[in-house]
């Protein structure tokens, strides 16, 4: 029994990380129909900068706030130089290459300046595990899926109750029509990238005490977060969170009852299978493109 609980809780912790990354992809895609493929590196930026600011002697709260702010600015700059010049042309996919390139550059620069070693981000929530039904888990690992669910709830309210949120939904629904009624479409896209990147930075700070901060920490998370966003349905925020949590739990049960070596094969097989049956993802809505 405790084994099952152990795998379930560990899966929720990891799944929560995937979900946080996937929410960022959802926000970007919804308004710009483009994503930052280096979004995993935004997590890295948040975690690494927090440690750097702590090294400078700043209090933890200011270090976190500054790291999120820099993450947000990174999103603004990235949207301006790597997305907007390429995404405005119909069917352009240049932004895929530019965002991947920026991610690689960011990782290389971080390795040089921050160092090659992973470093811990201190948190009192990873000092001792809590025991639930015989299974051990760090409170920080439990906080991650809770944070993902809370962020989606806040996002839901924001998108429906605020003028900016409604404008973002309008752009997501129909860019041209939104532009015609006076919504600044490019401005909305920029704000979306800023929001996604700020969230990425925050996510990095949340997960770093569990996985440690390093230049390469975002690479695999970015890939799996994107996979989760696709199978959850990138247009649905609750969908990507549910998919993230499910994916994490499945991974842990495969680890536990089949083998670690089979984990990625089984996981990505599920991704392919889901997409064959539901091309728009489990919870996504079918997007109609008028030509």
């Amino acid at each position: 029994m405790s084994e099952v609980v152990q795998y379930f809780l560990a899966g929720l912790g990891i799944g929560g990380i995937y979900a946080l990354v996937a929410i960022g992809f959802h926000i970007m895609w919804s308004s710009a129909k483009a994503v930052n493929f280096a979004h995993g590196d935004t997590l890295m930026l948040g975690a690494v900068l927090t440690i750097v600011f702590l090294d400078f002697g700043l209090p933890i709260a200011i270090a976190i706030a500054l790291a999120i702010l820099v993450g947000m600015l990174f999103g603004v700059v990235l949207e301006r130089v790597a997305i907007r010049p390429f995404a405005t042309q119909a069917r352009s996919i240049g932004w895929m290459l530019t965002t991947i390139a920026i991610g690689i550059m960011l990782e290389s620069y971080t390795t040089i300046s921050f160092g090659a070693f992973a470093r811990p981000l201190p948190s009192p929530l990873v000092e001792n595990p809590v025991i639930i039904l015989g299974a051990g888990i760090y409170p920080q690992e439990l906080l991650i899926p809770i944070a993902a669910i809370a962020i989606v709830a806040v996002l839901h309210v924001f998108q429906r109750r605020t003028q900016l949120g409604r404008a973002m939904r309008a752009v997501a629904y129909n860019r041209e029509a939104a532009g015609i009624v006076g919504i600044n479409v490019t401005g909305i896209a920029m704000i979306s990238f800023a929001m996604a990147s700020a969230l990425g930075g925050l996510s990095g700070i949340l997960v770093a005490p569990v996985i440690q901060a390093s230049a390469t920490m975002g690479l695999l998370l970015g890939i799996k977060g994107f996979a989760v966003a696709i199978i959850g349905g990138i247009t649905s925020a609750p969908g990507v969170v549910i998919a993230g949590l499910l994916y994490g739990v499945i991974e842990k049960f495969v680890d536990g009852y089949i083998s670690t070596a089979a984990r990625e094969a089984v996981g990505f097989s599920i991704v392919i299978l889901v997409l064959m049956i539901w091309p728009q993802g489990l919870f996504g809505r079918k997007e109609i493109v008028k030509v």
Binding site: E3, G13, P120, N128
Partner: protein, 392 residues
């Protein structure tokens, strides 16, 4: 048109002959290295550079080699085998160095065996420990090593593990890479030589964040000692997962955990035992203290624990001295003569006394014998010689 073609052909032939002649004749007074200058293992590249540059400084201060100043050239492979192969060609053909020292990753070193033998340039490994890097079935075999050999390391770890397990119940956790997969059969053989089998063996991938499923299986199989084969980041996750499932076996690891495991895992790493060839921690011999002082001055090392992969520094230092001595014995920068001379080198090194450094058997192309391996222990964030800790 015909004239142009003839002239172009003649120039090409002349260049080819010139190139061939320079490779066949004496090489240049330089030692190359392909190592990770960037990427997650850049600390390994830095360790090699520190050791090699300190040795080159010493050699040049004493008059150089055969009256010439020795040069050290380092290229970045970032842990990628194709770049490592390309670097061998740059070192052997473009720079025409007399020899090269090896890097951090076994996967790179394995890929470099072919170009090394195509060029006929002695290669002396300094960190990458995969057995087949050296024991590769070639004759002549240009691959040498002044570092640990996985096959010997596994015997060392198994022997140490048996001393700490009442029932000789040893479980294995190894990383799912070329290095880890190469070590697993060696570990099995080391156990079989003792009439044992592992109670369980589990793998993990780089960047894995939770190892509880694997550890639950090993715990339930009755393991008392856990031999770990991997790197610091994943080692930290193993220790944290052990804490989560409330299990505390004796942990013994290969030297991939000699980087910053203590910083990552804090007290959880206390008394995790790690094999090394050299430790810069604690009280040092006068000669080692002098080198440490220069490391502080030349490379900005602030304290002993800032020396990452300290074994690599010492190995590279000894490797460059051994190559320099071989050149002196050969009396020439001719690679074939230097190759033969490597078997005649006797050297009092930092790691051990090399007497001789190499022998003409495949197994003894490794210079550091298992007797020289050391057991160190993480304690309060520092990796110390075992006798400087309360660990057993």
């Amino acid at each position: 048109m015909i004239t142009r073609t003839v002239i172009a052909g003649a120039i090409t032939a002349a260049l080819a002959l010139q190139g061939g002649a320079s490779i066949a004749d004496e090489a240049n007074a330089c030692i190359g290295n392909s190592g990770p200058v960037t990427g997650p293992a850049a600390f390994g590249g830095k360790a090699i550079r520190m050791g090699a540059e300190l040795a080159v400084e010493d050699i040049n201060a004493a008059g150089g080699v055969l009256g010439q100043e020795l040069e050290f050239i380092q290229y970045d492979d970032a842990g990628a085998p194709p770049r490592g192969v390309d670097n061998v060609r740059r070192i052997g053909l473009a720079d025409n160095c007399v020899a090269m020292i090896g890097g951090y990753h076994s996967t790179v070193a394995l890929a470099q065996r072919d170009p090394i033998h195509e060029i006929g340039m002695p290669y002396v490994g300094t960190i990458a420990a995969n057995t087949k890097v050296i024991e590769n079935g070639r004759d002549p075999n240009y691959m040498f090593r002044v570092s640990a050999k996985d096959r010997w390391v596994t015997k060392f770890l198994v022997a140490e593990g048996m001393q700490r397990s009442a029932n000789n119940a040893i479980g294995i956790m190894y990383e799912n890479t070329g290095w880890g997969k190469g070590a697993y059969p060696d570990l099995q053989n080391a156990l079989r030589e003792q009439g044992l089998e592992e109670v369980g063996a589990e793998t993990f991938n780089w960047e894995d964040t939770d190892m509880t499923p694997q550890l639950i299986r090993l715990r339930d199989a009755g393991a008392e000692v856990l031999i770990m084969w991997g790197l610091d980041r994943e080692g930290n996750q193993i220790l944290r997962s052990l804490q989560k499932i409330g299990w505390s076996p004796q942990v013994i690891g290969a030297w991939g955990f000699a980087g910053n495991l203590g910083e990552l895992a804090g007290e959880l790493a206390n008394c995790a035992l790690i094999m090394q060839t050299y430790s810069w921690m604690g009280e040092l011999e006068p000669s080692a203290q002098a080198l440490y002082d220069r490391m502080q001055e030349d490379f900005g090392i602030g304290s002993q624990e800032e020396i990452r992969m300290g074994s690599g520094v010492a190995n590279a230092y000894d490797a460059v001295h051994i190559i320099a001595k071989a050149i002196e014995i050969a009396g020439s920068f001719d690679r074939a003569k230097v190759y033969d001379a490597l078997f005649e080198v006797e050297h009092e090194g930092l790691v051990t006394s090399y007497s001789p450094a190499f022998e003409r058997t495949e197994e003894r192309h490794d210079a550091i014998l298992p007797e020289a391996y050391k057991l160190t222990a993480w304690y309060d964030g520092k990796l110390l010689p075992l006798d400087q800790t309360p660990c057993e």
